[in-house]
Structure formats: C-alpha cells, structure tokens
Symmetry: C2
Subunit: 203 residues, 2 copies
C-alpha cells in the first residue's frame, strides 16, 4: 500500500527534539529541522502535518523516550534516596548538561501562551517528574516529611533545569544538592521518626 517511508520516526523525532531544545519552538526554523532530520519539508509535512504537529510529536517523544526513561531507570519502585540523588546529580554532567536544558522546562516557559499545549502536554510531563520524586520520598522519609521535602525538591529540580539552560549551574549548586540529600538521609535514619518504611510483604 504505497511507497514506504525512507526514515524511522524515532530517529527523526530524536533529531527534531534536540533542535527544539536548543533553539526553542520559534527559533527552530523548518530549514534547520530539515537539515537536522535529513528530511525535506515535503516529507516532514506529509508525516507530521505542520511545524506545530512536529513539535507536539517531538515533545511527546522527549517525554516518553527520554525523560520517562530516566525516571524509570533511577526512580523505580525500589529507588532509594541515593538513586534520587544520582538522578539529580546527573544533571551536572555530560551528556545531560550540554547547556540547552530540558525540553519540558523550556516549553513551560516558551509555550506558556498556548493554553492547550501548556495544560495538555507540559503539565502532565511536569507532574510525572514530581510524582516520581514524591513516590521515592514517601517511601524513604515517610508521609510526615514527604510533602514538604517533595515541594522543596520540586523547586530545586526546576531551578537546576532553569540554570542549566542559562549556563549558570555551578559547583555550589551541586554541593547544595549533596547537602540536601545528606539531610534527607538523616531524616530517614532518625530512629524517633515514626515513618512507615516501604516493605514488600509478598516477597
């Protein structure tokens, strides 16, 4: 049924998502997207409708194949404070800290006027991140502290990603994260703390 595509969707979206991450939505010209993806406008429009459609697909790809990947890797069911710390500290090194930031955070700023995209795509992506962090905290420091610690870490995480894009992340910020986690570990390990530790009764 017709001529088959000469490209792999995932490859194209991967290239596109990096262009959008670097240049932003408006700064990413169709010419640049052609160059980066290796496709011509015709194919791009045939496959994704228009530039906005390509962006939606690239954003969804970033969330699903990149952000969620990292969440699954570091913040799974068994994740500890160490894992959560490692998840955040990775933002300080390559390949993550390449100076272009996180597409979700960037989109939260640039796509703000597009209510539909903001609430329909950005909010869920942000929520996924914070919920995963909250899950770890709930298990590790217990419900008494998880809420406050979660909100604090949410602020710090978005701050990290903002400063990463501004190329203003430095070693002091890293130290602050490390210190934050040594404090969270104290919270976890304090004996008089009536947290409910996470158990797997069936195992």
């Amino acid at each position: 049924m017709g001529r088959p595509r000469s490209f792999d969707d995932a490859d194209v979206l991967d290239a596109a998502m990096h262009v959008f991450r670097r240049h932003g939505y408006t700064g990413a010209s169709v010419a640049r997207l052609e160059e980066a993806t290796g496709l011509t406008v015709g194919s791009l429009y045939n496959a994704f409708g228009d530039k906005a459609g390509l962006f939606r697909a690239a954003f969804a790809h970033y969330v699903q194949a990149f952000a969620r990947q990292r969440l699954d890797h570091w913040l799974g069911e068994e994740a500890t404070l160490d894992d959560l710390e490692a998840y955040l500290l990775a933002l300080f090194d390559l390949p993550l800290n390449d100076g272009f930031g996180c597409l979700i955070t960037n989109a939260a700023v640039e796509m703000r006027p597009d209510e539909t995209f903001l609430t329909g795509a950005v909010w869920p992506a942000l929520a996924e991140r914070t919920e995963r962090i909250d899950d770890v905290l709930l298990r590790e420091v217990g419900p008494d502290h998880a809420r406050e610690a979660g909100a604090r870490l949410a602020l710090m995480t978005e701050g990290l990603l903002l400063l990463a894009r501004a190329r203003r992340l430095n070693h002091d910020h890293r130290t602050a994260i490390v210190a934050e986690f040594s404090r969270l570990r104290e919270l976890r390990d304090s004996p008089q703390h009536n947290r409910r530790r996470h158990h797997h009764p069936a195992e």
Copy 2:
C-alpha cells in the same frame, strides 16, 4: 531642538515589558506592542531602533525599575531572614503572581541562543538577585552556612519563578519556603554556631 516626545519613556517601557513578559520576545508582535504602549511603529522605531532594541530597553527597565526595586525594598543592608522570606512569599500572591513569571527567568530560557544578550544582560540580572540573597544569608546564618544555603535558595527561587510562569505554583511550595526559613532561623539562633553576626560599629 525639534519636536518633543509625546510620551514618557518609563511608561512605554513599562507597557512593553509586560507584553514581553506575557508573550515572550517572538510572541510579542509589533502590533501588540503598538497597542499596549499607545505608540505607533514609527515612534517605536524612532525611539528604540528596532524590536530587539525595544526589548533590550524593556528588559533593562524591568531589572532597574522593578526587580532591583524589590531587592532594595526587601533585601537592603539591614535585611533579616524575615525580610528574605517575605521577599519570596510575595511571589505567591498578586500582583506578582499573575501567571506570567519573571522577565529575567523567562529571558534566561527564551534568549538562550543569543549569547550576547544572555551573558551581557541575563547573567548580570540573575547575579544581582543571588548576590543580594547571599548578602542576607552571610549576615544571618554566617559564612559557614551561607554558601550552601545560598545555592539552595537560588535553586528554589528560580524554581518558584519557573513554576509561577507554568501556573504550577501551589500551597505546598509555599509551605516548603516557610519550612526552609524556619530551618534557617534555627541555624541563625543555634548558640553553638560560631557565625559572625553583622554589626555596625560606627553606629
């Protein structure tokens, strides 16, 4: 020497800065800027050169007449942790929390590709904010803790402003700020803490 301007620069820049804050740089069309400022393109271009020049002026105006104003008000030479807390908590209420965020934070994301503007305008504006916060902390919690606390608050502050633009700021974040400051006060008031309190010997 020629016809005088029919408008006040500060008024125009005030209107322009709000347009840029809402819509971003590219999203702010010249037509919208005309409407908001009450000037026509001719006058706008005569006064500021081009759209980029108007943006630079509006950004500088935001920093000087708005952001620095707030810093001077809350984070002066005598500012305490209470003042710093109030400075941050104001971000949760109107008129500050109008859902469009901070022009500096927004520009850090959107203007990232413009190296000249990023390093020449955004970096100094960000630095002004963090340095003022650090000054307060240095006096209040002492040099031993100021560095770490400063980095943590820098992250939290940028996180606040990011989430404010995404319309994702909620009461938990507010609680996290309040909790953070009750902890900083403990640090300040802890007797065994060998901080050097701020004195004015000449007074």
